[in-house]
Amino acid sequence: MLLFAIIALLAGILYGTSGLSISFLDLLSAQSNSILWVLMVCVGISVGLHHGLLAKIRAYRLRIFVLPLGIIAGSCLGGLVCQLLMQNGLAESLAITGGLGWYSLTGVLVTELSGAHFGSIAFFSNLLRELFSFFSIPLIAKYLNYPTCIAPAGATSEDTTLPMMIRYTNEETVVLSVLNGVLCSLAVPFLLKFYYWLG
């Protein structure tokens, strides 16, 4: 699956840059939202087939916040190290990493507040985070543990990276992943505002 995923990504980039127009592939790439919707229903069905899952998740109570808080703290630490290494502004460094993988929103917000250069870095670094999550999930599931697979995914753990999650972890982790994605996505705009206030 991992190899197929890398091939699909490279083929997509090649097709996009080539300027070719094949109607089926054009339709496929234009309908990425619809594909995501179908995927979400399929992942939901897969989770729904496992009974007693909700009761298990309810039993976690406040422990559910450990994942998003850990992800935010880890990203913030990474941002501080980046700031020390690159000598950029504190606000910009933290804001770029505060996107937690949500590249579209972070790219736009950082461009508005700090200009195109930092906006581009915000876009690409968060995009790389999402792509890395796709490919790291099988390895983290094998060598670390299932909940840690959610860490690189950050805010994307509720949508785009969910299909890899269901393939390489289990249904309980998938539900944790959805909850984490919702909490991280809610936190991103506040984090960015906070980091700019701080810097």
């Binding site: 069905i45 009974h51 990493t97 670094s125 599931a141 944790l176 959805v178």
Partner: protein, 94 residues
Amino acid sequence: MDVILLFFLGALIGKYLFPLHFQPVLEKLLMFFTLCLIFAMGVQLGQRENFFAELSSVGMESLLFFLLPTLGSIFVVYPFSRIVFPNLKKKEEK
């Protein structure tokens, strides 16, 4: 928000309507649509104006700004997850 709603709609279908013997078909569909989604992401990236030029100018900085926070998240989450979710282990331990 729409994806969350669709996820829960799917969960309801899975719980009450979906025949269990179609699960292998569902797994194949999941794999197919995941690859389609990754391909579509690649196309959107490739179609971005000045994609390679932009990537070469901010590539190294972007790499650093992606790598350190991502690794930071993994290093913080891993030890805590071992304590908080002891039943969710890695693949071989199951």
